[in-house]
Symmetry: C2
Subunit: 281 residues, 2 copies
């Protein structure tokens, strides 16, 4: 994964002051969960991973990284730390952080266009990524999340916000793998449902960790949701209820995988292992 | 052009608070010079304009609009007015303006992917737009521009900044028209050269208007470059020199068009009329 980003951003003809701030946030690491899901789903379909697939996996990670940089800005969540390191604007200044985030929304489409895959597949990937990230997805969810900060949300409203804010970008890897593996519309739909369950599990887990984990465990200041009086799954369902909801989503995801392994050539073991990691006792 | 944006952003399933702020900046208007160049170049090649072409033209305008919203932010140029209206963040707040700008970098790729053109052409358009806008283009130019604010630049450095910051996005329409009209690599190269000349003319003209025009004529506060002690073509070449440089670029553009009209079926009249409008006595 890292080599894809290095190949892309170490090019001599790029502006080093920009690529330095971009690389700072890319290399801050994180779990690379979106690329991992994409590559493991591809492998589950029996596809051998090539550099072309890494470009697609890299594209979704870059957009995710942009959202973290912009979310941390003073005008947004005003966070000083991310993944245990000072946030991008703390190191490079606000203007540079805005621009690094902007580049990280645009460059992924160059990665997709440069992926040596059938043109029809690339166009479908571009469509899916744009739907997942722009005003049909992540950014819309961020707006709803911001608007919701001052209100008490219902469970359905909270689910809707997260479905857009984080769900669609977590669904993309599964759908993208299906598109690359040239699966039927029906299989793609199952992969979309799988991604939605995983995405929801992911956000519930995040809310749980915000109240149960330490700075070292999650690499950012815990307890921020409660301090900001944000609507969370914990606030709406309490801790036990949130854990039950997390568990229900993971079981649903496992069931979809079981069904896919019956109806297609998919071997679900590595994806199941990833899902296993999302569990909290 | 407006109908494309309305069709795209009036959809019921979108978040109205986001689309409202997006539409505010889109509808602020401006000259729509990038879409115009694209559509006129297509027509010059004898292509009848369809909705699919309007989607491509719309895509470049949306990215341009995003750059204006983000440029105006307090952390960037801190502008209160744009095109004679309060800037986006003045009306909707900084966080919303950042997110509106983000959506306007991502949504254009959905427009491209949804354009019913041959897949190979769409992939080439995605590549060109990403190269023109991200860390190979506009955003890189914005970083160089910002870095250069505190220095005295050479003519070559200033040209390089503008080639990235505004040049590539002004070149895209000409190249995109060539790709859609399925012209040869050689013709595409001529169109790229044409776009570069037009782009340079455009920026020199902007610098000239900053010292010679009124608020009503340009819809923004004039004299800002001088007040900020920015390197401009005026500062490096003086007013007469900048006018001569503008004129030289426009003549070069006209010569490329004349050559293209000799070697291809291109009828350059409408493009020449646009170029005519860039002239300053």
């Amino acid at each position: 994964m890292t080599s894809i980003f290095d190949d892309f951003y170490d090019a001599d003809d790029l502006v080093s002051h920009l690529t330095q701030s971009i690389q700072y946030s890319i290399q801050a690491g994180g779990k690379r969960i979106r690329p991992l899901f994409l590559l493991e789903t591809l492998q589950a379909f029996g596809v051998s991973i090539t550099t072309e697939h890494l470009k697609v996996a890299g594209a979704v990670e870059l957009i995710h990284t942009s959202s973290l940089i912009h979310d941390d800005l003073p005008a947004m969540d005003n966070d000083d730390f991310r993944r245990g390191k000072p946030t991008n604007h703390k190191v490079f200044g606000e203007a540079q952080a805005i621009l690094a985030g902007d580049a990280l929304l645009l460059d992924p489409y160059l990665l997709l266009a440069n992926a040596d895959l059938p043109s029809g597949v690339v166009v479908a990937l571009v469509r899916e990524l744009a739907l997942a990230s722009g005003s049909h997805g992540m950014v819309a969810g961020q707006v709803l999340d911001m608007d919701g900060e001052t209100q008490t949300l219902t469970f359905e409203q909270l689910k809707q916000i997260h479905a857009l804010k984080t769900g669609k970008m977590l669904t993309f890897p599964f759908v993208a793998a299906g598109l690359i593996a040239q699966q039927s519309d029906e299989v793609i739909l199952s992969l979309r449902n799988l991604g939605e369950k995983v995405g929801q599990a992911f956000q519930i887990r995040d809310d749980i960790l915000d109240v149960t984990a330490t700075f070292d465990q999650i690499g950012k200041t815990p307890g921020k949701d409660e301090a900001a009086d944000k609507s969370t799954y914990i606030k709406l369902l309490d801790l036990a209820g949130a854990k039950a909801e997390l568990s229900a989503n993971l079981v649903a995801a496992e069931n979809i995988l079981a069904e896919l392994s019956r109806t297609t050539q998919l071997v679900p073991d590595s994806i199941l292992k990833q899902i296993e990691r999302l569990k909290i006792d």
